[in-house]
């Protein structure tokens, strides 16, 4: 069992990540307190998704140290994975499985009762297509299914990477409900988004540009910093 080092949800110190010679994230120091809802905004290629994937332990930093939920980014990554949920525009669904089969599989590998899958499908309005293969789903339906999968368990930290991309208004409200539900339960949410219409959900907004984080910024300043 890894040891918890800090009470912060996210505590990164001088984190960098390069892909080959190209730096994606440069010496970022970033702290998110438990229960906060932080929106990360910035232009394409700013390094927002890379930052989120480092926090999710999907990729490792090439320099710097950090803790997520008190666990070291490298030594404690299994503990971090047990407590976080990454929802990304890559929905990580199996095309040749049905919606229900996808959720049941996710439930088993997350150690959750598979019987919760049907209820989760109903909550995102996909119960009527439970037995249909994902291959025939629109991007919006896939994203709804990804949200349903995220609600199967109760992670301490939600990481949402462009969760509103490709969604209609009704589906966007589902993501909002996910965020609001997490806030109500005092969980931490970190959202990377271009969607300026959702920033009212944030307790704090930070801006990324060219791999660097401009934080903390008042909401008004952050909005003005958008290109």
């Amino acid at each position: 069992m890894a040891i918890r080092h800090t009470d912060a949800a996210v505590d990164l110190r001088a984190i960098s990540r390069a892909f080959g010679a190209a730096p994606a994230v440069s010496r970022i120091t970033f702290r998110v307190e438990r229960g906060e809802t932080v929106f990360v905004r910035g232009p394409n290629g700013a390094g927002k998704s890379t930052l989120l994937r480092i926090i999710a332990t999907a990729i490792s930093p090439t320099a710097g140290t950090g803790q997520v939920l008190g666990f070291d980014l490298l030594a404690g990554r299994e503990e971090i994975r047990r407590r976080t949920e990454l929802v990304s525009h890559r929905t990580r669904l199996y095309e040749d499985l049905s919606a229900l089969e996808n959720l049941r599989f996710a439930a088993v590998i997350h150690g959750v009762d598979p019987r919760r899958a049907l209820k989760a499908l109903g909550e995102v309005g996909l119960a009527h297509v439970a037995s249909e293969r994902v291959r025939g789903f629109s991007q919006g339906m896939r994203q709804r299914l990804a949200v349903a999968r995220a609600t199967l368990r109760a992670p301490e930290l939600f990481l949402l990477d462009e969760p509103y991309a490709g969604l209609d208004g009704q589906a966007k409200e589902l993501v909002d409900l996910l965020v609001l539900g997490a806030q109500r339960d005092d969980r931490t949410v970190l959202v990377v988004t271009h969607d300026a219409t959702r920033t009212h959900l944030a307790t704090r907004i930070v801006v990324m540009r060219a791999g660097r984080l401009y934080s903390p910024a008042p909401v008004v300043d952050a909005e003005a910093a958008q290109p």
Partner: protein
């Protein structure tokens, strides 16, 4: 218990995807048939020569067809970032490996039944030797191929390594399995099943090493 449940879930998921995608039926089996016919025709009408080389023909067809099966096993994981989902899930990565290897073994065994029948139908070669040892050879050879292919097949999803994985890693590592399986099958088929014991022992040792290596290393190969 959790390990077994998770491995079963992965295997069931892979087999379900395979059945629906019909990769084995539509790609792997026709490929194996074409190989068998090409090999058989290259020997001309001499039936005795075909009979002597039947174990090698059989295993070469299985060997090359297995490469396609390994690729198929990871295609669905790459479609929409599903492999990252497995990485980030709090699941024992050893269980994921065992599940994926189990699904590949099931597919290859089904393929082998078809190839054995085809070998008999095309060349008049019937596998009549010591049946339990013949089945043991097929099982052990299949587990050996599947364990290496499932372990290193995951690297085909890593963009930088994709093209080098099979020629540089999987094919050389599975060559001992191919040789031992051919020798064991030939000895059993020739009526010397006792002499096949050492080859079967070699296959069992190989399988144990690579299954253990898979359970231990798979998680590291999945990581960034």
């Amino acid at each position: 218990m959790t390990f077994a449940l998770q491995a079963l879930a992965v295997a069931a998921k892979d087999l379900r995807i395979e059945v629906r995608g019909r990769h084995a039926l539509g790609v792997v089996l026709p490929f194996a048939c074409t190989q068998l016919i090409a090999f058989g025709l290259s020997f001309g009408p001499d039936r005795s020569l075909v009979a002597q080389t039947a174990p090698a023909l059989l295993w070469l067809a299985i060997f090359f067809a297995s490469v396609l099966t390994f690729r198929g096993a990871y295609e669905a994981e790459g479609e929409d970032g599903a492999l990252e989902g497995l990485l980030l899930a709090p699941v024992d990565k050893g269980a994921v490996f065992i599940g994926k290897a189990g699904a590949v073994i099931a597919q290859l065994l089904a393929l082998e039944v078809a190839i054995v029948v085809l070998t008999g139908a095309l060349f008049g070669v019937v596998m009549t030797g010591d049946l339990p040892r013949l089945v043991a050879t097929l099982m052990l050879g299949t587990v050996g191929l599947a364990s290496v292919g499932s372990l290193f097949g995951v690297l085909t999803e890593a963009a930088r390594a994709r093209e080098a994985v099979f020629p540089l890693l999987v094919l050389p590592l599975t060559t001992p399995v191919l040789i031992a399986s051919i020798r064991a099958t030939a000895l059993v088929q020739a009526g010397h099943p006792a002499d096949a014991a050492s080859w079967l022992g070699l296959l069992a040792a190989f399988d144990s090493v690579f299954l253990l290596a898979g359970v231990t290393l798979f998680g590291h190969l999945l990581e960034d």
